[in-house]
Amino acid sequence: MTTLEVRDLTKSFRKLRAVDGVSFTLTAGRTVALVGASGSGKSTVARMIAHLVRPTSGEILLAGPDGEPVPRRAYRDHVQMIFQDPFASLNPFHTVEHHLARPLRLHGHSRADTAAEVIRLLERVSLTPDFARRRPHELSGGQRQRVAIARALAPGAKVIVADEPVSMLDVSIRLGVLKLLSRLQQEENLAVLYITHDLATARHFSDEVLVMHQGRIVERGPADEVLVRPADPYTRRLAAAAPRPEARFGPGGLT
Amino acid sequence: MGYHLRKLAFYLVALWAAVTLNFVVPRMMPGNPVDILMAKLQQRGGTVDPGARKAYETLLGTGGRDSVLHEYFAYLGNLARGDLGISVSAFPAKVSDVIGDALPWTVVLVGLATLLSFLLGVGLGAVVGWKRGTWLDALVPATTVLSAVPYFWLALILVAVLSSGLGWFPLNGGYDVVLDPGWSAEFIGSALYHGALPALTIVISSIGGWLLGMRNMMVSAMSEDYVLTARAKGLTDSRIMVRYAARNAVLPSVAGFAISLGFVVSGSIVTEQVFSYPGIGSKLLQAVQNNDYALMQGIFLVITIAVLGANLVVDLLYGLIDARTRDRSTVS
């Protein structure tokens, strides 16, 4: 079973300790939410796991499906990332096809079966095959993020780091994208790290929650426990800060 | 490191690079410049004493007799003492004296013309940008073409039309030769009269660049949120234009001063040639035509130092008008 273990991860930028001794484990079939305000260091954690930023100290250990450690050059076959801003994470110069075909080619697909595989990837994220020819500027935010998800799935990765995958999207399509991620996670038995500042979606879409504040994890546990009955004062303040119309009018007509 | 210190350090590095370049160039070139120089000197009837030869060798290379490092330090030592050698074309005058005579002409001409062109260009650019969509937009392609005109050719045209044709300005020179140089009103008046056309050439050729750059930045600045806020605040148009839009739009023009100054100085050298202006550009050409290597190198150094100095001043000024640079920790 694919497992990614993060041990005592630390990153310093000059004097600032952006990430300070963070440890956790991602296992197949589970979603871990990393919750925190901007500047808490949660995106730096994502970038370290994606091998975009080198940790100052600490370890990232990846075990493949057979339980054996994965060699460094094969790391990217197993770990992929979804970025926050779908308007920035797709290259405006290239077609959707390029964005999906490249990772396929890099991870062992022959030229011959790439085209068919691109279409299969598009279908998995509920996009029609004709999207392959389009360029990013012809797509809506939600469509772009679906392409970004497909790109992350292309190498056949089993660990997905999703860095605020819906915060730049319009509110009415956010849940749709999150549901898609959740469905794929269950179908493919993925290990997902869901990074967000939104406590509510963290609660609904994850099994375990880690609350991060100033580079440290201040509270962790099952999603329901941490967010509904927070113990740490910072988590409590976060939970209290979210708008709560039900406190004003009682339970609403819809929920 | 503070902003000012960092800038100072950068210009010291640039100065060192220029001085070293000046040392390296003659040694990399084919032929033996010292022999050419000595031959020239003999033609002019100068005495070729061993001391003179040694001085030139320090500047231009001994052809492998002394170690390069030894030559380099001797060269730096001479520079530190302000000793740039003896000019051949103006034998037996010292290079430093030749430069000293010519430099004020160029500094005043190029300095005033550049300042005028910058102020006019930036001011006009701000107005053209602010009044976008009016007839003023036609100025943009016009100045675009103007900025591509070679300085010296414009100078030729101006002389042909305004001096030869209409007789409004003198054909060439820096002052009326019948006058003695000095601080008399008559002499200064004559110098201004003679300098008008070269200055006009520089202003016309360089104004387009400032205007266009400022106009484009102005247009960008006008769609910034702080200009929208200023409008929402009900401020007067003139206040929004000057304090909000232009104040921000001018920053890149100031930051890009270094690049532009290089062009202006280059253009001025050739312009001086057209007007036979008694400045440093004409002297540089005179030096090149006469294989006066010592003078050539001295002038290159002086021009470089002047440009570096001007840029340093502008950079320090930039620190004053944009508070953000003082807190930033990026390199130059």
């Binding site: 849940l175 609904h204 979210a242 709560r244 | 160039v25 969509g133 591509a148 005109v149 030869s164 401020l235």
Partner: protein
């Protein structure tokens, strides 16, 4: 001139000159043939006359154009390659390499080019100065400015997420640079190449004019050199010295026009735009009477973006803002909520136009105000707080100046002392220490800047404040503090608020009444309680369902 007009004129002119340089020499005969006719004016056999030695000027011009273009292209290619190496590669590598390359480029940039070229040319004997030597020297002294531009551009591109995404996919470095970064640099690269060509032609012309050009070469500069030495000016032989310069000027101008168009492609804001005469096309002559207690009444307001295909951004919107109430305006991006807010204060920019409707502020017909009256109305009666507080404050002046110019403009009689006191007072109201008056915007945190914006909006005690996503860019905790601050100030000072956001739960908690907008229309307009408990419109329901509750039953959404 229009956008495509500039590009067309530039391409046409440049193309013509290039063709002249390529084909002209084949048609015009030998430029060196000496004839016994001496200096002759244009006409007859010699379209552009002859030189002092009877050589045909047109033939010389054709050959010279070819020579200058050749030098220009040579130098352009070499300089662009150099600037690419030092600008792009350095910036992508980052770290020490970037610092070193950048320092080197900057040093090369501040050392004046032409004097250096003249010195180098002076050391090389005339017979050894070939075209390639001159081109090389010009390229070496001319690449630095482009490298600086390319570096800045590359630095911004290399931090884009799509570059990170390519790296995460496992792309090799050279592929990331060549396939992901370089195509996006093409417009800049093209513009730098064009610039390098023009610069090279100009520099070479200057050099040749001084007699320091390549030996045996024939360029526009050498032509001018011979014209000058043949006293063309004194002999009034304008046909000799005008054409070569004109070719340089026209070619440079043409390339500059092309460059200008490239700039406009990269930065659409620079494109020509017709100036709008009026922001309001038609207003309803008769204004519907306001409800009692209403401070701001919007009736059937329509705003249209007059593009090639007009976009109807605000459709028939009617709103009533009562004294002291908070009216929430909810909607997603592109629904027209910001356009509506700007139109109320007539801040909408062209090509947006108010095509019909009315905006009434107490007794004032806002759409009918003349420019000066409108200016006096703004901020006194109605102030605004915008989303990006970083960008809403002028970055180059301290916040004191930005608070004070409101008072200077609208309260010209106020003494300096009173002005300072008022500025300090409003800052205290929003919980900012008045010592911060001397601070520049970049020295304040995001939350602090938004507080300063709110303080600024309070300066003149307006009756209405429009807040456009004032807390969206802020952290949850800071957002909570600012919201509490707004509620407290509203209760203390009694102004009315139009609060615009996509965050419906926030509005449900904060507002008295809510208008939900979609596609330019208000689809539902009711009290917060009604919207929350009994949403009528399907879109309102959809929006409400988009925000899962933190305390509700878990797992309901994922299944």
């Amino acid at each position: 001139m229009t956008f495509s007009g500039k590009l067309g004129a530039g391409l046409g002119l440049a193309g013509f000159i290039v063709l002249f340089g390529l084909l002209g020499p084949l048609l015009t005969g030998d430029p060196a043939t000496i004839r016994d006719v001496g200096l002759t004016a244009p006409g007859g056999e010699h379209l552009l006359g002859t030189t002092l030695t009877g050589q045909d000027v047109l033939a010389q011009l054709a050959h010279a154009t070819r020579g200058s273009l050749w030098i220009g292209v040579l130098v352009g290619v070499m300089a662009t390659v150099l600037s690419g190496i030092f600008g792009i590669a350095g910036a992508y590598a980052g770290g020490v390499v970037d610092e070193a390359f950048s320092l080197f480029s900057n040093v090369m940039l501040v050392i004046p080019g032409l004097p250096l070229v003249i010195v180098v040319a002076g050391f090389v004997p005339a017979d050894r100065r070939g075209t390639w030597t001159i081109a090389l020297v010009l390229a070496i002294t001319g690449w630095a400015a482009a490298a600086r531009v390319l570096r800045a551009q590359t630095l911004s591109l290399r931090n884009r997420d799509y570059v990170a995404a390519a790296r995460v996919s496992g792309e090799r470095t050279w592929r990331v640079i060549c396939v992901e970064i370089l195509p996006n640099l093409l417009p800049v690269l093209a513009s730098q190449f064009v610039f390098a060509v023009v610069l090279a032609i100009l520099s070479e012309a200057g050099l040749s004019f001084l007699g320091l050009g390549a030996a045996n070469s024939s360029t526009l500069g050498t032509m001018l050199y011979y014209a000058q030495n043949g006293f063309a000016l004194q002999r009034e032989a304008w046909w000799w010295f005008v054409p070569p310069g004109l070719v340089i000027a026209l070619f440079g101008g043409a390339l500059a026009l092309i460059n200008f168009s490239i700039d406009e492609i990269v930065n659409p804001r620079l494109r020509d735009r017709a100036r709008r005469e009026r922001d309001v096309v038609a207003i309803d002559a008769e204004i519907a009477p306001a409800e009692p207690g209403a401070v701001l009444t919007v009736r059937n307001l329509n705003v249209v973006y007059q593009a090639a295909t007009p976009v109807h951004a605000v459709k028939d919107v009617s709103l009533t803002l009562r004294r002291g109430e908070i009216l929430g305006l909810a909607g997603e991006s592109g629904c027209g909520k910001t356009t509506l807010a700007y139109a109320i204060n007539r801040l909408h920019r062209p090509p947006a136009e108010v095509t019909s409707g009315s905006v009434r502020f107490s007794d004032v017909d806002v759409l009918a105000l003349g420019p000066e009256k409108l200016r006096e109305f703004r901020w006194v009666k109605l102030s605004m707080v915008f989303q990006g507080a970083m960008n809403s404050l002028n970055p180059v002046t301290p916040i004191r100046a930005q608070l004070q110019d409101v008072l200077r403009t609208h309260r010209p009689d106020m003494s300096t002392l009173d002005r300072n006191a008022r500025c300090a007072e409003v800052l205290r109201l929003v919980g900012v220490d008045p010592v911060r008056l001397g601070a520049y915007p970049h020295e304040l945190s995001g939350g602090m800047r938004q507080r300063v914006m709110i303080a600024m909006a309070l300066l003149l005690d307006p009756q209405v404040m429009i807040m456009d996503e004032p807390t969206t860019a802020l952290d949850v905790l800071v957002q909570r503090e600012i919201l509490n601050e707004i509620k407290r100030l509203r209760d203390e000072l009694g102004f009315a608020v139009i609060f615009i956001t996509h965050d419906l739960p926030l509005l449900l908690e904060l507002s008295d009444r809510i208008a939900v907008m979609r596609d330019g229309e208000v689809v539902e307009h009711a009290t917060a309680e009604e919207i929350y408990l009994r949403p009528q419109h399907p879109y309102t329901r959809q929006l409400l369902a988009s925000f899962p509750s933190l305390t509700g039953e878990a797992g309901a959404l994922t299944r």
